[in-house]
């Protein structure tokens, strides 16, 4: 069969990075193709080029064999290519029907036919066999429903290629299954589906074939039936992860942060835990498990309903993050661009931002002192930039993240919360971030590492707490933490078959000669017995981990 879309030698440079570096891509009608790669590998960018949202510097795009000269979102749509983005793009105050027909509503002489709108929308939803009320406002829908509406919107035209960008990242298990059914149905109708993901589990469930990307290049394409997890990972990361996480064992010091029965505003479960000097305390869990809310509450960004927090033995009740920082508690946020950097300010100004008063007297900045601090920090973190006066927005993702880390190191906090510190940065920068986490622990700081990336949280932490639905449901010492048990706690359900895939993936990432990787003797013999994960989790009352006195 001839490909419906073929892209060749696509190159695209962004400030500081070569996002696409000669990527090739082909897909046939009805094929379900996974586009796999680490964050920043160029998956989304390549598909945005196809959908007309980005313009390549070089390269050729053919649709049905015809060269497309200048792709725009509009003519991509006319050619039957639609992309559903990670961030939903529905108009929140329009109804489902209006959203589906948005752009080209049925109309005569410019007057919209509202009956036509409803008919066409109903038809599109019916094709997908999804039940979403036509007159509901988009903002009242769940994320899964919004996604269905987005897909219906795409299907409402003459669709040839549907691109889904990380569609399951915010879906529940059931919703994910429904989405998969839908994808298969679209495929049966001859629509090619590109499925962007870094979740290996899903790829084997739903995709026919997989293309691996790394550093802006397409590395290889396989039939899913003819490949395996190890091979894909090897192609994805290009090196063994255990080499990147040279976890050092540092003697655990005294308790610095003691959280007792903390109830975050808007939640109703109390949470208790302690962090020690020299310790990396991991927080594992799925997206939406309440980890970020808990951390933001600790630094005073979200109010607390009840409970106490002690920092260095003294009660801490910050009204805003500034109060927490003055006491030596910092929070590196989970979204670098939205709340980590100020892109328009320089590396120096960003690094000095959390310790303004340290570099000032009577409110007047000591410019030289600040500059020296910034230069030292930038050198220590090996931030690649020509000078600390460079604007942070012009750096690559990895360097931006190092600037944010630098901000907290410069602030000299004793307890540092890192929320998804390696999200969206390249493999090399990840390794450096892990090294910094080690450095911080060695200096006697307490590091709280929140990560949804299982290999990372298992590989880096001295102790792992697992959160689900706002409460801490599991606690493991480094030696006892296995991917099975953590996944079991995080999901609260046994999914033996998929477990094998996920944990097999994680274990293969962590496997390697490096000493100190958390592979106990009981390591991953995944059991096929439903309901009994390989490492049984001791029943433990919610929110009261074992190190309570």
């Amino acid at each position: 069969m001839s490909p419906v879309v073929s892209m060749s030698k696509v190159r695209l440079a962004f400030p500081g990075t070569q996002a696409l570096d000669g990527a090739d891509f082909e897909i046939e009608p009805g094929e379900i193709r996974s586009l796999l790669g680490e964050n920043g590998a160029g998956k989304s960018t390549l598909m945005k080029v196809l959908a007309g949202a980005e313009h390549p510097d070089e390269g050729e795009i053919r649709v049905d064999g015809e060269v497309v000269a200048h792709q725009t979102p509009r003519n991509a749509r006319e050619l039957g290519i639609a992309m559903v983005f990670q961030e939903m793009s529905l108009a929140p105050n329009l109804t489902v029907a209006e959203n589906i027909t948005l752009g080209r509503p049925p109309a005569s002489y410019g007057v919209v036919s509202w009956n036509g709108v409803r008919e066409r929308a109903a038809e599109a939803l019916e094709q997908l066999n999804v039940g979403v009320p036509l007159d509901a406002l988009a903002r009242t829908l769940t994320i899964a429903q919004q996604q269905m509406v987005e897909i219906a919107k795409a299907v409402a035209g003459d669709l040839k290629v549907l691109i889904l960008d990380e569609p399951t990242s915010a879906l529940t298990e059931t919703e994910t299954q429904e989405l998969f059914t839908l994808i298969r149905r679209l495929s049966a109708r001859g629509i090619a589906v590109v499925y962007i993901s870094h979740n290996l589990e899903e790829i084997f469930v739903v995709c026919d074939s997989v293309t691996v990307m790394r550093d802006g290049r397409t590395i290889a394409t396989h039939r899913t039936a003819e490949t395996d997890v190890d091979r894909l990972i090897g192609e994805m990361v290009g090196r063994v992860l255990s080499d990147m996480m040279p976890k050092e064992s540092i003697p655990r010091g005294e308790v610095v942060l003691d959280v007792r029965d903390l109830v975050v505003d808007g939640k109703d479960v109390p949470v208790s835990f302690r962090a020690h000097r020299g310790e990396v305390l991991g927080f594992a869990g799925l997206l939406g498990a309440g980890r970020t809310a808990l951390m933001r509450c600790l630094v005073g960004d979200i109010p607390r309903t009840s409970g106490t927090v002690e920092l260095h033995g003294r009660p801490l009740d910050p009204r805003r993050p500034g109060d927490a920082i003055r006491r030596g508690l910092g929070y590196l946020s989970d979204d670098r661009r939205a709340s980590g950097i100020v892109g328009g300010l320089s590396v120096r100004e960003n690094i000095g931002m959390a310790c303004l008063s340290l570099n000032a007297r009577y409110g007047v900045m000591k410019s030289l002192q600040e500059r020296r601090l910034a230069v030292t920090t930038a050198e220590r973190l090996r931030i690649v930039t020509n000078g600390v006066e460079k604007k942070v927005g012009e750096l690559s993702g990895g360097n931006q993240q190092k600037v944010v880390l630098g901000k907290w190191m410069a602030a000299g906090v004793e307890v540092l919360i890192l929320d998804e510190p390696t999200r969206g940065i390249d493999v090399g920068a990840k390794a450096e971030v892990y090294q910094l986490v080690n450095d911080l622990a060695r200096e006697g700081k307490a590091v709280i590492l929140v990560s949804s990336y299982l290999p990372e949280v298992l590989g880096m932490s001295d102790r792992v707490l697992v959160m689900r639905a706002g409460s801490i449901v599991g606690e493991y010492d480094r030696e006892d933490a296995t991917s099975e048990s953590v996944m079991y706690d995080a999901t609260g359900q046994a999914k033996p078959e998929e477990f094998t895939r996920v944990t097999g993936y994680v274990d293969s990432l962590l496997a390697g000669p490096a000493p100190g990787t958390p592979r106990g003797p009981e390591a991953p013999q995944t059991s096929g017995d439903p309901g009994t994960p390989a490492a049984p989790v001791p029943a433990r009352p919610t929110g009261t981990p074992e190190d309570r006195p």
């Binding site: 440079a13 962004f14 400030p15 500081g16 990075t17 070569q18 570096d21 550093d215 630094v299 960004d301 805003r320 993050p321 500034g322 927490a324 920082i325 003055r326 929070y331 946020s333 661009r337 939205a338 709340s339 980590g340 950097i341 100020v342 892109g343 328009g344 300010l345 100004e349 000095g352 931002m353 959390a354 303004l356 008063s357 000032a360 409110g363 007047v364 900045m365 410019s367 690649v384 930039t385 020509n386 460079k390 604007k391 927005g393 012009e394 750096l395 690559s396 990895g398 360097n399 901000k407 602030a411």
Partner: protein, 342 residues
Amino acid sequence: MKTTDEAPRLAGGSPGVPAPSPGARWRALVAPLGQQLAPFTIVFVICVVLWILTPHFLTTSNILGNLVQMSSLAIIAVGATMVIVAAGIDLSVSTVVGLAGVVSTVSIVEYGTGVPLGLLAGVAAGGLVGLVNGLLVSKLGLPAFITTLGTLSVCGGAALLITDGKAVYGLPDGFKWLGNGTVLGIPVPIVLMLVVAFAGHFLLSRTTLGRAAYAIGGNPETARLSGINVAAILIALYVISGLLAGLAGILEASRVVSGQPTAGTNYNLNAIAAAVIGGASLFGGEGRIVGAVVGAMILQLIGNGSNLLNISTFWQSVIVGVVVILAVLYDQIRHRRARKAT
């Protein structure tokens, strides 16, 4: 993300990025400089044109007259810039000018407070309006545009209510000094303008308050999580804007030796225009005091030039409007380009 020019596309540094061409590197170096110097260049060009076309332009009295006339606008533009840098906007300044003038003249004439205290009362009234603006915007989270549009109307009404719509006369001679006196031969308004400009520049570029303003304007979330007390900083900036509008108000009142409730009608648009012409971005995070003063100078020269060349005042208004739109357009294009580059 905010970037000032096309430089981001040319940024090198990380491995695997093609080295920029020599021409590109040259542009990356020169573009930011050119952008900072652009307002000065415009002033220079206007001056040369006026000098060639009119015999009266390059006379001491005309130059001093221009500087005196622009002083109130420049003082207000300094405050406007500070608010704009933090991604806020203060539309109330024009009626604050009238209100401050009325408050000070009424205090002196009807309550006998004496000149210094009366002048202070006028400035304080401006600061009070700024405080209200700041509290509404930061504590209640109201949009700055609507909030200050509201206080604009309130202050305009208040000024008229206080005087029953009439101008306030009968001021003592001492009241004239601020607007008409001299210090070491230099007119007081010019001295005040320079003092305010230097203080504003110092505040914005050398203090933690200024740094916090840029951080908030660039990314309020980051600023807050970095420990900056966003509400307190915003309140301080609006208070400064109000105080400076109050200062301009008493300056205006002193110049005409009367309290005019409708003084300062045009200052709103012009102050924001001056800030934007001077390179402040309405998206926040960018702007310099020097730019605002030069922006005020450009607007003043457009007015003065039109007078000298016998262009009708109706056309002046058109020209100012077009210049403002061009300046904002320039700002938009820069940001669109910067955003595209990310």
